[in-house]
């Protein structure tokens, strides 16, 4: 009795309680797809025994072999004996290969959406954050000790590296820092002028621009740009070296990573950030002055007179005092993230992102602390 055929590849007959399954032609992925449903149904059929006739099986790939083996295993589990006859020797190898493996493994990672998972992640992140803080302090300590050695023996400082870093982090950052601070100065003066003119206090626009640029905008904007440009670069450079095992090579040669990589970057940034801040202050004030001249019809002389009356040396100094501290924070976070890279290139990207986020976060926190401290001591 002929039951059914699927694209001629599979013919099933029942003969005295024995299920005779004839396989014909090539059994490749294409065949496996067309017979998959039929052969799954076949496995549920009652039979005393099964004979698979593979005489006219011409080709077999692993998908075809798997579909056959799966069915054999299903009959096996039910205690129905299966006999395969007429199989070409060359095809036997791939059929055997398809049998010997485990089908219980998960393909996708276990879904993670429960409350417990959320709490676990929260806990993990918190502990991680604390660890990062502790390790940053550790790195700060190591860097301080290393710079102490430099003070005692200045010749051990890697001058070339410092100069190269000053160029990379400072000189090349001039255009972007200047442009952004200039534009912010323009916007600040423009908005200030619009509001203050209504109170007849248009002159105070100069005070507004002067104090905000010198005390906050100049340094903060510069620090954020440097964190984005150089903090990330530090993390990426050191991280890539770590992936390439260059860090291991350095240590094997008895060179200290702190001396060779971290310290030049820290020193360079501590020199560069105050300098960039001064440049940013000037750019911001120029922006403000231009608005005052065109919008409020001031002369440059009037602007400067009003500025010298409105701001003190301390307005400028409070901004500048913060710069080395921010520089230290950005350089340490960048280097720390870079050294935290583990193995894969993927982790370089992750650590670089972390470097930017953490250093900007740290800069803004420190800025707030400075603001409170300056207010307390009245400058």
């Amino acid at each position: 009795m002929k039951d059914h055929t699927v694209a001629d590849a599979l013919t099933v007959e029942t003969r005295d309680g024995t299920l005779v399954v004839r396989l014909r032609g090539p059994w490749t992925l294409q065949t496996a797809l067309s017979v998959d449903a039929a052969i799954r149904a076949l496995a549920d059929r009652a039979a005393a025994s099964v004979t698979v006739d593979a005489t006219s099986l011409s080709r077999l790939d692993s998908a075809g072999a798997w579909v056959i083996q799966r069915t054999v295993a299903q009959f096996d589990r039910r205690g129905v004996p299966v006999e395969i006859v007429g199989l070409d020797e060359g095809l036997q190898a791939i059929l055997d290969k398809a049998a010997e493996h485990d089908q219980s493994a998960d393909i996708a990672p276990a879904p993670t959406s429960s409350l417990l998972n959320f709490l676990e992640r929260l806990g993990r992140r918190s502990v991680e954050g604390l660890h990062t803080g502790r390790n940053l302090l550790g790195l700060l300590g190591v860097v301080v000790v290393a710079s102490g050695r430099i003070v005692v023996r200045p010749m051990t400082l890697r001058g070339t590296a410092v100069v190269a870093q000053i160029e990379a982090t400072g000189v090349t950052a001039l255009p972007i820092v200047g442009l952004l601070c200039f534009l912010v100065g323009v916007v600040l003066a423009y908005m200030g002028a619009l509001q203050l003119t209504r109170f007849g206090a248009a002159n105070l626009t100069v005070n507004l621009v002067g104090i905000s640029v010198l005390r906050e905008i100049g340094i903060l904007l510069t620090a954020i740009i440097v964190a984005g440009r150089s903090g990330s670069a530090f993390a990426a450079q050191i991280g890539t070296m770590k992936v390439n095992q260059e860090i291991d090579a350095l240590e094997t040669m008895g060179l200290s990573v702190i001396d060779v990589l971290v310290l030049p970057r820290v020193i360079a940034l501590i020199i560069v950030l105050p300098a960039l801040t001064v440049f940013a202050d000037v750019a911001g004030l120029v922006g403000g002055a231009m608005v005052c001249m065109f919008q409020l019809d001031m002369t440059i002389g009037q602007f400067l007179t009003q500025l010298s009356a409105g701001v003190t040396v301390w307005s400028f100094a409070t901004g500048l005092i913060k710069a080395p501290v921010f520089a230290l924070a950005i350089a340490l976070v960048g280097c720390h993230s870079g050294l935290g890279v583990s193995g894969s290139a993927e982790s370089v990207g992750r650590q670089t992102t972390r470097a930017v986020v953490e250093s900007i976060f740290l800069v803004i926190i420190l800025n707030a602390i400075f603001a409170i401290a300056f207010a307390k001591i009245g400058i």
């Binding site: 998959d36 790939d61 692993s62 493994a105 393909i107």
Partner: protein
């Protein structure tokens, strides 16, 4: 051995007049190569002779300065169009595995299957587990991410992905480098089994002299910016100094004098 495809007389790959340049540096200069269907071709050559570049050029990743290449009857176009037409008919194992890091091994293997379309997901999962078993990875590797695997395991997972759709041609870039000797010979066995059952054509860049002696039908040696192709026996007598050095060095002698190799060379000779 079964010969797949519509016209079994066609070679699997023909390379004619290939010229590859990087700036002023000429890597291949008028290179010709024919790979027959069902054969295992080993590609050897010194560092910087362009073994990997040759593979990349054949599969359409690297545009050569001059030359024509036909892969499985399709002219290779280097603009991606021939690769799309040939999707699923050839697979490539990259040197470091090149697994997608955001996906598990199982999902990596399913990528070509999903691209092909029309495969029920249950069958896809089953086939992915089958491939994982086939390349000798433990079953639990299926749910692991590439970053959790060792170098050798990544390689096997990469091969599993290259074999996902049972391709006609597989390109292997240093498949046994970084594997322990047991793993490497298991890998060799696997390639032989697949060739026997599927009529697989294999082009492998390798420095593994044992692999060369054990499974390669012919060897293509990159010298003087071209290839010299021949069986092991033919190449051993080739006059080129590099080839002489290669096949008569102490390492080569150790590999070729192993019993299996001796049998094989003897059988081919007789």
């Amino acid at each position: 051995m079964q010969s797949p495809g519509d016209s079994p007389i066609d070679p699997a790959i023909t390379v004619r007049g290939l010229v590859t340049r990087f700036g002023s540096q000429v890597v291949h200069d008028g290179l010709d190569l024919i790979v027959e269907r069902g054969e295992i071709l080993g590609v050897v050559g010194g560092s910087g002779t362009g073994k990997t570049v040759l593979l990349r050029t054949i599969i359409g990743l690297q545009r050569p300065a001059e030359g024509e290449i036909t892969l499985l009857g399709e002219p290779v176009a280097w603009d991606g169009s021939s690769t799309i037409r040939l999707a699923g008919r050839f697979g490539m194992l990259f040197q470091e595995g090149a697994l997608f890091s955001a996906l598990t091994v199982g999902q990596n293997i399913e990528v070509p299957m999903r691209e092909r379309g029309g495969i029920p997901s249950v069958l896809m999962d089953e086939l992915a587990r089958l491939k994982v078993g086939l390349v000798g990875l433990p079953a639990d590797a299926c749910g692991k991410f590439p970053s959790q695997l060792s170098g050798g395991m990544k390689k096997r997972a990469g091969l599993a992905r290259a074999l996902a759709l049972d391709p006609e041609v597989v390109f292997l870039d240093e498949p046994t480098a970084g594997l322990d000797p047991i793993g490497a010979s298991a890998f060799d066995e696997l390639i032989l089994d697949l060739r026997r059952a599927l009529g697989l054509t294999v082009v492998m860049v390798t420095h593994d002299l044992d692999s060369l002696a054990r499974i390669c039908d012919r060897i293509a040696v990159l010298v003087n910016k071209r290839v010299v192709v021949g069986t092991m026996k033919e190449l051993v007598g080739h006059p080129d100094p590099w080839i002489q050095e290669y096949f008569h060095g102490p390492r080569a002698r150790a590999a070729f004098e192993a019993p299996a190799a001796a049998d094989r060379i003897g059988a081919e000779g007789g």
